[in-house]
Symmetry: C2
Subunit: 295 residues, 2 copies
Amino acid sequence: MTIVLALPAGTEISKNISKELSLEHHIITHKLFPDGESYLRLPRNIKGQTVLLVQTTFPNQDKRLMELILAADACKEYGANEVIALIPYMAYSRQDKAFLEGEVVSIRAVLKSLRSAGIETLITVDIHKEESLRYFDGKAINVEPWQVFANVLGSDVKEDALVIAPDKGAEKRAATLAREIGVNYVVFSKYRDRITGEIRHEYKDIKLEGKHVIIVDDIISTGGTVADIAKFVSERGAKKVYAVASHGLFVRNAVRRLRESRVDEVYVLNTVPQKENVKVLDVSPAVVNVLKELI
Amino acid sequence: MTIVLALPAGTEISKNISKELSLEHHIITHKLFPDGESYLRLPRNIKGQTVLLVQTTFPNQDKRLMELILAADACKEYGANEVIALIPYMAYSRQDKAFLEGEVVSIRAVLKSLRSAGIETLITVDIHKEESLRYFDGKAINVEPWQVFANVLGSDVKEDALVIAPDKGAEKRAATLAREIGVNYVVFSKYRDRITGEIRHEYKDIKLEGKHVIIVDDIISTGGTVADIAKFVSERGAKKVYAVASHGLFVRNAVRRLRESRVDEVYVLNTVPQKENVKVLDVSPAVVNVLKELI
């Protein structure tokens, strides 16, 4: 039997999934000590069971990761047969490569830690680079959310809409979303100066007049990349601009920045808790499809 | 050769130690991304070297621990021969036992994670329970700081001073400190209601009039335990009350609470950064003694 155990930042999605799959659902008892330490207590005996831990890792990435480590270790110590972790947003996934000598490949250390803590199977949604999952020495599944977006966008946009990938890294996302909706896509280029960190875009010379444009990426953090492209396409006559991203972190007034750059609609998933006034789509159906094969 | 690498919360002690032992000292390059992720970069080639990572784990326990994990993993990946971690204050060390079924033994998970990340030798100062170090599957050393306190207190207190351990768990601390100063000690009892968490003390019927009393513990967090005892001994005529603890976390106006409970002097170590107006003693000499044997 599989028991779903929600950690402090995993309650919403875990409820949806448990309901859909008729799984027993519990919230792990948690509190903060006055000094800031997390206290966790497993809410039931899990000996011999398969445990599905659910926790996302934004905001407070480090606390959320540490809680996953504490809970996974406890599940194994209390005799869980298998520990699966559903981590809808995987923190540190953009730190997947050392550009400069000595840089820490943080996602490697994070995935190794989760595995060492006792997580045998990892499910995440639209991780920054799928190849990073090789650092997890167990079964790792990357859930593709594009059908979820296409279901909503497909009826919304016109036939000659255009999907834009801000850079090569987002090409697969743009291609999949475009195919699901039945429109074309194009890839822009993004250069990051390796010393200053400054970002420059290379825009394609494309016809945009009167078009619906969908800019797609995995993560919107400060919103700078999407805002730059939105401004570019608006100035060239795009009729409506959509920003679509799996994970809407929205730091430093990102949503206001998007609006001011003439983004009309922002679509994200519920992989992180959302306070901003954007359209939030439930990723649970896509996760359920994966879980059905697994448990 | 041993190279000292200071993480963001380890710069002060690491400098003292490097100077004393004439070791090469570097600060690990670090920044925070806008979304809160830590970025780390090793400041020099450490291939084939022994690396001594220095980082304490309060405040922001989870971030500090995660930085240790990231840095240790990177040291091994970049070819360090051995990774030693000096963690002056070890977070989660009070969560060393499951009182209730299902409770997470957090210190076990934390120590296992640090080991998995590549730390082969762990040095910490006055960990809550020394037995917890068995969870670290490598060499682990607990530095005793009592000589550091005795050097200062010895000339300060009167011959008939009395050292008080608030509970059985602090008895070894009290006994050692009392022996170093050359005075007597006594152990009080503390009961924690396992459901409500409420704490009750059992005080000894001892002669306190005109005495210097030193209350000793490993950690002062909210200061409740020490404040209760200070009040008790003051009301029974103690002339001067010292609160002595290795790690002064001082959450929720703890120091004010101590002063109001008639604690005259508060002595702590520099194992955590200190903003409060208390006397801070440098633990580096005690750590250096241990390191001399090790490297």
